[in-house]
Symmetry: C2
Subunit: 356 residues, 2 copies
């Protein structure tokens, strides 16, 4: 069918193995003359190596799998982007699976990826579920859990400082003179969500605010959920003068609810959130948020995978988040969404008005 290594060897008047040595630069040396003939034959036949066969032989696929809970969520999209970038830089191809918040789909993807003999697996576990755990552990495939931890898993996790970040964001709202700071939280069963709630609570407690003065709404991540949660909070008798929101996506919905309620952000209700997705710079007002170090997360995740391949035992790693001050908290709002978003192309090219 396709043109094989054998065909190249025949045309070059040599053996298939030599073709391998030329292509792979080893493990055995090959004379310059033979190499030239092989290269010519490859060119002439339009030969392309079959990496499936290579994978079978080498039991190494140079493929990594990534399973995320929700493709449509910009935070996971950004995380996926960072991981893809890092994988590409190391010569790996990434298989992407979207669990769509379903434990079943999540497990299906893990199973598929394992059957495909991926060299490693990145998993952002959907809400507490972890039906995939037994299979992945038994396979012996290196894996890393991201953003969230799986109870009982032996694999390392790469996380961010959710508690500290939430505390810092809340403290920042306090420095703007806000006292009634409510919280739009994530689902109860997701680790980063609960850590962010406790960071918020601790900041308020340290500021001497009574527990009874604190309101929290647990809800899904996502714009719509944030919108609905904020509507509840703003309808309370004692309306909050600020809201700490557990994710930028929810915060976009919160902003919308504030404006529909006839209130202004940050004047009537200040907002600070978490994640630092690119879109956060372009809402009105732009969101003050705890920026996650996406590139560093990607690097750390791959490093942990490679360490496991090398047999090293790598512990869980917690990366810091950094406060990004924009308009929603009451800080001055930088024009034009400040810096060009990561990966945004050609943003500084001159623009010119013309006639069509």
């Amino acid at each position: 069918m396709a043109v094989r290594r054998t065909d190249v060897a025949r045309l070059a008047g040599t053996s298939p193995a030599v073709v391998s040595y030329v292509l792979n630069g080893g493990p055995r040396p090959v004379s310059a003359r033979t190499r030239a003939k092989v290269l010519a034959a490859i060119e002439q036949l339009g030969y392309r190596p079959n990496s499936i066969a290579r994978s079978l032989r080498m039991s190494r696929t140079m493929t990594l799998g990534l399973v995320i809970p929700d493709n449509a969520n910009p935070f996971f999209a950004e995380l996926a982007r960072a991981i893809e970038e890092e994988a590409f830089a190391h010569g790996f191809t990434l298989l992407m699976g979207n669990a769509a918040e379903s434990d079943e789909r999540q497990t299906t993807y893990v199973r598929t990826f394992l059957a495909r003999q991926v060299d490693g697996l990145f998993i952002v576990p959907a809400h507490g579920h972890a039906g995939f755990l037994p299979e992945v552990e038994r396979s012996g495939t290196p894996w890393v859990s991201l953003d969230r931890q799986v109870p009982g898993a032996t694999a390392p996790s790469v996380l961010v400082d959710n508690h500290g970040g939430a505390r810092e964001a809340t403290n920042h709202l306090l420095t703007h003179g806000r006292r009634r700071i409510a919280c739009v939280a994530g689902p109860r069963d997701v680790m980063p969500a609960t850590d962010r709630v406790s960071g918020w609570r601790d900041a308020l407690t340290e500021a001497g605010i009574a527990r009874a003065e604190m309101s929290v709404v647990h809800t899904e991540f996502g714009r719509r959920a944030g919108y609905r949660a904020a509507r509840e909070l703003l309808a309370q008798a004692k309306r909050p003068d600020a809201i700490f929101v557990a994710s930028d996506e929810q915060a976009v919905g919160v902003l919308r609810a504030v404006s529909e309620a006839g209130l202004r952000c940050p004047d009537d209700v200040a907002v600070a959130s978490f994640d630092g997705i690119p879109g956060a710079a372009y809402s009105t007002p732009a969101l003050t948020t705890m920026g996650q170090p996406f590139a560093a997360l990607g690097r750390a995740a791959l490093a942990h995978l490679l360490a496991q391949q090398a047999g090293t035992t790598a512990p869980t790693e917690v990366l810091p988040v950094t406060l990004v001050r924009r308009g929603s908290c009451g800080c001055p709002d930088p024009p034009g969404g400040d810096a060009p978003a990561d990966g945004e192309a050609g943003s500084d090219a001159p623009v010119e008005v013309v006639q069509p």
Copy 2:
């Protein structure tokens, strides 16, 4: 190393071939008793088939490749999501490649995917570039170009009605009484961008507006580019009273520029855009936009691939876009970003304010 088909056969007291027949449901029948023994052995050993070996043997990988120009752009992200969804539903796994607007990376990905013997390839070509064309054509692998057409390609394209959509959006701004309707366009060398410009121009011409009254800025897709383009337009002596924007992403930047200029949307400057990304429902005001049929695009793309596999010749397909009326054009702005976004989870669960 791993547990193989042979091991299962030995334990079940049968031959490796029979194990295949049990797993694949054929092609030969297996007695109920043998099947039970095989299943038990599989369970006991924790056997998992190696699909690399299967792929090599079958010369079918059940893997498809997708190359997009920019992972960070929500439009491509949404398109990717739709395609992944469709591929998953048909039992395919998707390899995702982000060309990051680089022709070189784009070609690298196509080459990698071909080497991995993907059963088909979806390509959203980066700006006019098409360095990958010779290789993919010669490989004989079925492929489809999406969103944009590649000059000289034999493969079918799946597109939307860019001209008609732009025309409809512009006409809609005209019905709101706007006359000075400027245009923020995409890059000059991208087909859908130029088609949208001509749709906008035709609508204005039909309305009797002189060419000299039309202003257009060509720029990159992306929020920041839209922001900078709108700043130019709003600084003109005769300021436009509406802007047709070639993409929602750019429109988000346009909204930002309008608000920074101390103007209000839609009162001073109405905006209509193109794409219908989920985020468009949550800007302030929400964006009136020409919604692309993402799910249908995914379906069409896969259908074209499968048709090619079956040897059928499939022509280019153009899908319709639909006007989504929201606040930015002057229509009433539906509350809370109207319907739950596609793929947004659990959005209608009750929310409740509690103490932490």
